[in-house]
């Protein structure tokens, strides 16, 4: 596996096995498993990104220049599957693995062996999924949403379904582990309402995962039996209903969207107070907002289906429910801004990414509100407007938060400071090119360009070319990120302090940098004013 080859550091740590295989493949240590998750996710980020480069290259100008339409569809499908299940979700699990025990004063995760299993399933799942690209018949090309009957026309239904099952098992085990850890392993004095927002966000996310991953497993299993065992769940000719799949899929799919953003909210809620040197504004409101967004995520699924011919009553219900989400999300954004207000701010790379997150995620939220309005959605639906929307919330939302978290905690993980200069170069390149990449896609959608097409009318040519240029440069900018990481892990001479950031609060900053192999073997004594939220009365 490629991810195993990339690191062999931490050799000075107490208690870490010297044998490479034993250390990384048989690990039960939350830090090592966290590292494995993060490295895996980075690898997937570049693989999924290379698929995106193929897409943007083909869309650079009208006419087909590079790939056949079917292969283009394989690329859009695989780009989404790899980025969602391979990059974003494992990155958050990796961050949770690393940081949750450190933040709540636990010696490790509650179920360390299961932790190992839930990681090591993933390389197999993705090897299986990616190998379909090299098989006769090609990879899945029916979109990551796998809508039947189209998805059943492919030859890779079985590997796709099996890979999804594996990812689902991995996610469920990871979620169980996180819940068990948070509910059972907190140090004495770490009350639930003193936990960092990141821990809260993961607790709620883990419940979402447990609730919906089995639903996805059920949906894809029905696809499998429809394809190979003669059932007709989704086959109208046999009495089934293709729309049933969409209802089941999006009952999973919408909470899934929030699984990818709630931990990001948590990360931003850690970073902004640190660099504002001021406690987070409205801690309880922040926690409550995350919980209510999670609850609402279960009753909005059909807003992905406004064009399937839902009855009027259903369209109205799902429109109203969807619009309601704007309220807690708005509270979060206002609270982040209020945290900054009256602070004493500095703008190191994690803060820059966090500030960009607040602005750009909010832009994605705005287009989300517009998409919720059913009559307008009749135009937006399945157009590039939607593509722009979900890339704003997932790239400048989830991925920017992951990058911010990486810069924020990297000194704690490695014991070295990353290069602030190159971190800022990475930031400015990312934030400029990501907007060049995705902002014009709003215009394309409004002008009538459908999504998932390999070629288009010349009226769409200018914005597509701009978008592609932004795409290539945003992709290239991530190589800077890779360089910063490699430098910080192996070459940086600058030692990190225990409390890496002046305004940082919380238990993770009380342990040495780099964090020793084992931490909190004895529960820490918690001083309220050391916690980010412990001393705040509200």
């Amino acid at each position: 596996m490629a991810h195993a080859a990339t690191h062999d550091h931490h050799d000075d740590h107490h208690g870490a096995p010297k044998n490479f295989f034993v250390r990384w493949c048989m690990s039960t240590n939350h830090k090592d498993i966290g590292t494995l998750y993060l490295v895996f996710s980075l690898l997937m980020f570049f693989i999924g990104g290379s698929f995106a480069m193929v897409i943007r290259a083909e869309l650079f100008k009208p006419g087909l220049q590079l790939v056949q339409p079917y292969f283009f569809n394989e690329m859009t499908t695989m780009h989404a599957l790899v980025m969602i299940f391979g990059a974003v979700m494992p990155a958050f699990v990796g961050l949770g693995n690393w940081m949750i025990p450190l933040m709540i004063g636990a010696p490790d995760m509650a179920l360390p062996r299961m932790n190992n299993l839930s990681f090591w399933i993933l390389p197999f799942a993705f090897t299986l999924l990616l190998s379909t690209l090299f098989m006769p018949g090609g990879g899945p090309a029916g979109g990551w949403t796998m809508y039947p009957p189209l998805s059943l026309q492919g030859d890779s239904v079985a590997p796709l379904v099996f890979a999804v099952h594996l990812m689902g098992i991995s996610s469920i085990m990871g979620a169980i582990n996180i819940i068990a850890t948070i509910l059972n392993m907190r140090a004495p004095g770490m009350d639930l309402l003193k936990m960092p927002v990141f821990v809260w966000s993961w607790l709620i996310t883990a419940f979402l995962l447990i609730a919906v991953m089995p639903v996805l497993a059920g949906a894809v299993t029905m696809l499998l039996t429809d394809k190979y065992f003669g059932t007709s769940f989704f086959n109208a000719a046999g009495g089934g209903d293709p729309v049933l799949f969409q209802h089941i899929f999006w009952f999973f799919g919408h909470p899934e969207v929030y699984i990818m953003i709630l931990p990001a909210f948590g990360i931003i809620s850690e970073i902004i107070p640190t660099f504002s040197r001021k406690p987070i504004f409205g801690y309880k409101a922040m926690v409550f907002a995350i919980a209510s967004i999670a609850f609402l995520s279960f009753i909005v699924w059909a807003h992905h289906m406004f064009a399937v011919g839902l009855p009027l009553g259903a369209e109205i219900f799902f429109m109203y429910a969807t619009m309601l989400i704007a309220v807690p999300t708005g509270v979060k954004v206002f609270n982040w801004v209020s945290t900054m207000w009256g602070g004493s701010m500095t703008f190191e790379t994690p803060m820059l990414f966090a500030v960009a997150f607040v602005i750009l995620f909010t832009i994605g939220g705005f287009s989300g509100l517009m998409l919720a309005l059913v009559p307008a959605d009749f135009q937006y639906h399945d157009s590039y407007f939607v593509v722009a929307h979900f890339h704003y919330v997932l790239v400048t939302g989830a991925i920017f938060a992951i990058i911010a978290a990486t810069y924020y905690w990297l000194p704690k993980w490695t014991g070295h400071m990353y290069s602030e200069f190159w971190g800022k170069v990475h930031f400015w390149n990312s934030v400029i090119w990501v907007n060049v990449l995705f902002f014009p896609q709003h215009f394309l959608g409004l002008a009538g360009m459908p999504r998932r097409i390999p070629d288009y009318n010349v009226a769409f040519a200018n914005f597509n070319m701009i978008s592609s240029i932004g795409g290539f440069l945003f992709g290239a900018s991530q190589l800077i990120f890779l360089g910063v990481l490699v430098h910080a892990v192996w070459f940086s001479k600058k030692k990190a302090a225990d409390r890496v950031w002046e305004g940082a609060k919380g238990l993770e900053w009380t342990v040495p940098s780099p964090a020793p192999y084992h931490t909190f073997e004895l529960p820490p004594v918690i001083h309220e004013d050391e916690l980010a939220h412990g001393h705040v009365e509200d």
Partner: protein
């Protein structure tokens, strides 16, 4: 594949179409906003889009403005000292209430539009749209209360676009033009012809996988799903040629099954329909009379589930 004569006529008709009225209804280079559309209903999404965009821009200016002010005023490098407060109930109540009020207004506007869209009653014409990989079939079911027999045809990507779009064809997409307007990938061999000023009910289904019928100038899209018949309506105000595309991923040629709606004055449409009906008549009369299951096309087909889309004889 057959019916060369009809196709040439359709071509000529397309070329002669009234194009002036259609400006801005079809995609334009550099277009920044949604089209207003040309139907009784299409101003609804356009209006909602503009209102919602306006609301978002205002909120954005206020929130991001406050944020930038904070970022400049409360910098450590300017000597700012962090304050201790982390709570303000009044403020929180205010900024929870204001969005709720804005949302109620938006919901009210959206609900009104939605109700009128859902009402397909009182239509004066019915067209059945069937999506196939990768073409559309149009069947004229009924016009002004009278059933229409055997007027139906397949509508697929025009030949010029199809040749140009082949991988490494070497042909220039910019050269695919009708009347000076670039129609690359948004032109068909035979457009759907409909009258203006008529409430037209569309019944939409599919024969293989899910498609979605979308003409932005009409203001909506509706999924075409095998086994399900969806309904939608339009009432086009201005004659013109309105172009759209399939909007639901339907396989390798998803990007190559456009939709062209040609809206003509009523008299012209009636003439066209009569011509079509006449062209359809003599053929079944010639060989054997009894077998022809003509009127069955619209009533019997839905009962036999989806797969077999009405097997009405092709044009020629």
């Amino acid at each position: 594949m057959t019916s060369g004569g009809i196709r040439i006529k359709a071509w000529v008709a397309t070329i002669c179409a009234l194009f002036a009225g259609a400006a801005w209804a079809n995609p334009e280079p550099g277009q920044l906003n949604m089209t207003r559309g040309v139907t009784e209903w299409s101003s609804e999404p356009y209006f909602l889009n503009n209102v919602a965009l306006g609301v978002c821009v205002v909120i954005g200016i206020v929130v991001f403005g406050a944020m930038f002010v904070a970022m400049f005023r409360f910098r450590k490098s300017r000597g700012a000292v962090a304050e201790k407060w982390s709570h303000n109930t009044t403020l929180e109540v205010v900024w929870t209430t204001i969005p709720v009020i804005i949302l109620i207004v938006l919901a009210y506007l959206a609900t009104g539009g939605l109700k009128s869209f859902a009402d397909t009653t009182g239509s004066q014409m019915t067209v059945k749209v069937t999506g196939f990989q990768w073409k559309w079939r149009y069947d004229y079911v009924e016009y002004q209360g009278k059933p229409v027999d055997k007027v139906g045809f397949i509508s697929k990507l025009d030949r010029e676009s199809d040749e140009t779009r082949q991988l490494k064809s070497g042909l220039d997409p910019n050269a695919v033009k009708v009347d000076g307007y670039n129609t690359y990938l948004i032109n068909v061999d035979e457009p759907l012809v409909v009258p203006v000023g008529t409430k037209i009910r569309f019944v939409i289904t599919a024969g293989d996988v899910i498609h979605s019928w979308w003409v932005p100038a009409l203001g909506w899209k509706m999924d075409a799903i095998p086994g399900i018949v969806n309904a939608a309506w339009t009432n086009i105000k201005e004659p013109g040629v309105y172009r759209g595309q399939c909007a639901e991923l339907c396989g390798q040629d998803h990007g190559f099954m456009p939709i062209v709606v040609k809206a003509v004055p009523k008299a012209e449409f009636e003439q066209w329909l009569a011509q079509k009906q006449q062209a359809a008549q003599p053929q079944p009369a010639a060989p054997q009379q009894p077998a022809a299951p003509a009127p069955a096309s619209s009533s019997a087909a839905p009962k036999t589930a989806q797969a077999a889309a009405p097997a009405t004889s092709h044009q020629g």
